[in-house]
Amino acid sequence: MAKRYDAIVIGGGHNGLVNAAYLSRAGLKTLVLEQRHVLGGATVSEEIYPGFKFSVFSYVVSLMRPEIIRELQLVRHGLTMLPLESTITPLPDGRYIYRGPDSAATFRSISQFSTRDAEAYREYSYAMYHMAKAVKYILGIRPPDPTSFHPRELLALLKLGKHFLSLGEENIYTLVKLMTMSSADFLEEWFETDPLVATLSASGIIGTFLGPRSPGSAYVLLHHYMGEIDGVFRAWGFARGGTGGVAEAIASAARGLGAELRTDAPVAEVRTRNGRATGVVLADGEEIEAGLVVSSLDPKLTFLKLVDPEQLPSDLVGAVRNFDTYGSSGKVNLALDAAPDLSCLPGDGPHLRGAISISPSVAYIERAYDDAKYGRFSKQPYIDIILPSMIDPDMAPPGKHVMSCFVQYAPYQLAEGTWDEQREAFGVAVVDTLAEYIPNLKDIILHRQVLSPWDIEQTIGLSSGNIFQGELSLSQLFFLRPAPGYAQYRTPIHGYYQCGSATHPGGGISGAPGKLAAMEILKDLRK
């Protein structure tokens, strides 16, 4: 006889695990099924080279909801969030911009370029703080359906409207600008120093197929500001043990609450009967029954692969087929024999414990985007670097380091050749670019791991390798994420739910989709 559970969560990424933890906490007998040999999905740390632990895919944490940390007691389960407090932008001429926790030092550094900008930077930080505060409310709620006249939806819309009106005129205008402008245009209203605009605007393109001059990128900028740690917005963190440390803590909490977690268990199909989910079939044919099935995978897999699309309304199938999951970024992870030395600021220092941004000018990033628009990886890409071993020394043997390089752009679909043919050339382009700023780099590389969007798709299953399970464009957000009418974690199939990053509030290690979905599921159960 087939085993039976109250709920099955497909996918052991961080949102699937959060979802399972909350369902278990509510007393449901819950099973998580992960296709890989490790849990975590894109939130995973692996020892790719002996002694060196890589945060293979995702590499920083900013959006992890503090209430999830408290409610699931993740610290007791091993979670430690370490601060990542600075960003340095090295420039080809040997100068640099440093922004860190010491506001006077930040002021002095920007002043080298423009005192006007150094002053504006403080005001800009306040403005973005207000914006983050405004949007924070949205992060914690289920998106209401603006087309429904159900009293519950109307009430939710009314509350939302009231919230926005309470922001005040000036903030509403700024918000509309953020929704419509390009990140570079938005930032140029504030700053005249090109490398500063470039570095700040880079937050507006991370993970998306947009350039800093593309309208809509300003919203992505805001998405990256919504990160909140300890009630402090725009605070980035780094998990002990890499991002896998986050998944391990959530997994441990879920187990402690009674969830069963299985790896090497790829799901082939979600079983349905009379429009109701009844369980899953694994790739090896094993059948597992459950009254509830929750997919943490992206909508292409959730709606087009796991179930027969014929069971679904055609408007949903159409919307999901058009849902943009195009991957545009890659990852290069390096094991280093020694600490890297920046030519602009040689030697050890706090700057190595923060981010290093290769974003010398807006034109530089826009040119990198030009390459990608026509199906080539950027010859001189935008690179967001952190040295996890500088923050958590256990990531590498003493004195040695791991370097995580998030690289943009690397289009999923190449104009010529395949990623198997181009992968190493891409890795070389990244290292060559880095070596211009880090002269000792090529001498200290022990191992290089290169991941294209295609590799991301092949390894962890994200369709087309999009790190957010779908673009964070306005047309794919809030009540439109992943599809109009299906943004409240439910699907047309009873007992079949979605809880991944392709649902509101979207990508990043936040746990919010996983939790909000669990809350909706539990609400349905109480009916």
Partner: protein, 398 residues
């Protein structure tokens, strides 16, 4: 005016903030770098080095050394073996706590006591007539605290002869550093894996250098008192004149505390040989107030601050400003050390509460100030320590 201590030549150049505190008359960095949180996390995740030389230190030698310690402390010193360290408070005759510290047994007739306040006179008075030599070694002994999960690996790389893996919690080893005696105790004020290193001050700078050097690949950072204060609150460790008042310094009797009131009832060995305060303590074993931990409700803070449109504003450092606590509208105690725990994502406090509210799980209210206006937030009583990692006490087998 505070003066430089034995490690000043090393810590002064590292103290880039020039933010100094006065600890028993010595200059001590509050933070070395602009962000004390980096120092805090060094201890929680890697390792930190703290100059704790300003502690008062006393050596007790002679046939009656153990008897003196036993008469002084509430703990049963006769059970303290050579190589062991005890934490204990000590009381006045009325059973009120004067001070607290650690007692290390270095030899069969040789002990070392640490204290927060100068204590030579009291030790001499308690030891009157005993065959014991009491020596104030406060300035003749420097102390370095190496704390954090990587502290063992760093120390092992320096002293390969020591079997640190087998050294238990609150145990000690004695060795040499540059021919000078060095005591290594597995103790600290952080609630993490850690060691304290005791040696003559003239050798302390060289040891500091060696440790900083060895710690390079292990994330070792020098750590100041701002971070230390946060670490000790999470560890549930008390600070004199903050969480309690020494009976020597109390202006009124109500300011004094018994060990029972401080949550230190476990240290009172009522059945051991006579000790100072014993007779009084028998009648005080059911305290009217107790020291507890509090976890403040975050949703309540969001609600209260939300009324004026603010996210919760929490102090980045541990606050030592006492705050009243309420239950049923009545004042029932006060929080004495308050902080937002960066690792727990929780606003926590050490507090003294009327005993009827001191059970873990009890609900009380804490006063908060939102834009100059006083309000209240719910708080739950919890049993300290707030943070208690397994590696704090773990011993390697073999």
């Amino acid at each position: 005016m505070p003066i430089p201590g034995p490690l000043h030549s090393r810590i002064a150049p590292l103290c880039t903030t020039q933010e100094w505190r006065d600890w028993s008359g010595y200059l001590c960095p509050a933070t070395y770098q602009p962000s004390h949180e980096v120092e805090y996390f060094a201890v929680r995740n890697a390792a930190g080095l703290i100059d704790v030389s300003p502690l008062y230190k006393y050596e007790l030698r002679g046939p009656d050394a153990g008897r003196l310690a036993d008469r002084l402390l509430t703990r049963d010193v006769s059970k303290c073996r050579v190589g062991q360290v005890l934490y204990s408070p000590w009381c006045d005759e009325d059973g009120y706590v004067i001070d607290d510290g650690t007692l290390a047994r270095l030899g069969s007739d040789h002990y070392r006591l640490t204290a927060a306040d100068p204590s030579l006179r009291w030790l001499q008075d308690v030891g009157y007539g005993m065959d014991v030599e009491i020596e104030d070694v406060s300035t003749r002994l420097a102390a370095l605290a190496l704390q954090g999960p990587n502290s063992r690996a760093i120390l092992e790389s320096l002293f390969s002869n020591l079997s640190l893996g087998q050294l238990g919690y609150y145990r000690l080893l004695q060795t040499k550093f540059k021919d000078a005696p060095l005591t290594v105790t597995r103790t600290g004020y952080t609630g993490d894996l850690g060691y304290e290193l005791w040696l003559p001050p003239e050798h302390a700078p060289a040891l500091w250098d060696r440790l900083m050097d060895a710690g390079r690949g292990y994330g070792l950072l020098p750590v100041g008192l701002a971070a230390l204060d946060m670490l000790r609150v999470e560890a549930g460790l008390l600070l004199i004149e903050v969480d309690y008042t020494s009976s020597n310094h109390a202006h009124i009797p109500a300011q004094k505390s018994t060990p029972y009131e401080l949550g230190l009832g476990w240290t009172v060995a009522a059945n051991k040989a006579d000790f100072i305060g014993r007779h009084s303590l028998q009648a005080l074993a059911q305290p009217a107030q107790q020291l507890v931990g509090l976890a403040v409700s975050w949703p309540d803070l969001e609600r209260e601050f939300g009324k004026v449109g603010l996210p919760p504003q929490v102090a980045g450092r541990a606050s030592r400003t006492p705050v009243p606590l309420y239950a049923g509208g009545r004042h029932v105690g006060q929080a004495t050390s308050l902080m937002f725990s960066p690792i727990l994502k929780t606003y926590i406090a050490l507090a003294t509460l009327d005993s009827q509210y001191a059970q873990p799980g009890s609900d009380v209210e804490i006063e908060i100030t939102v834009e100059y206006v006083r309000g209240r937030a719910g708080a739950k009583v919890v049993k300290p320590p707030f943070y208690d990692p397994p590696h704090k006490k773990a011993v390697q087998r073999g």
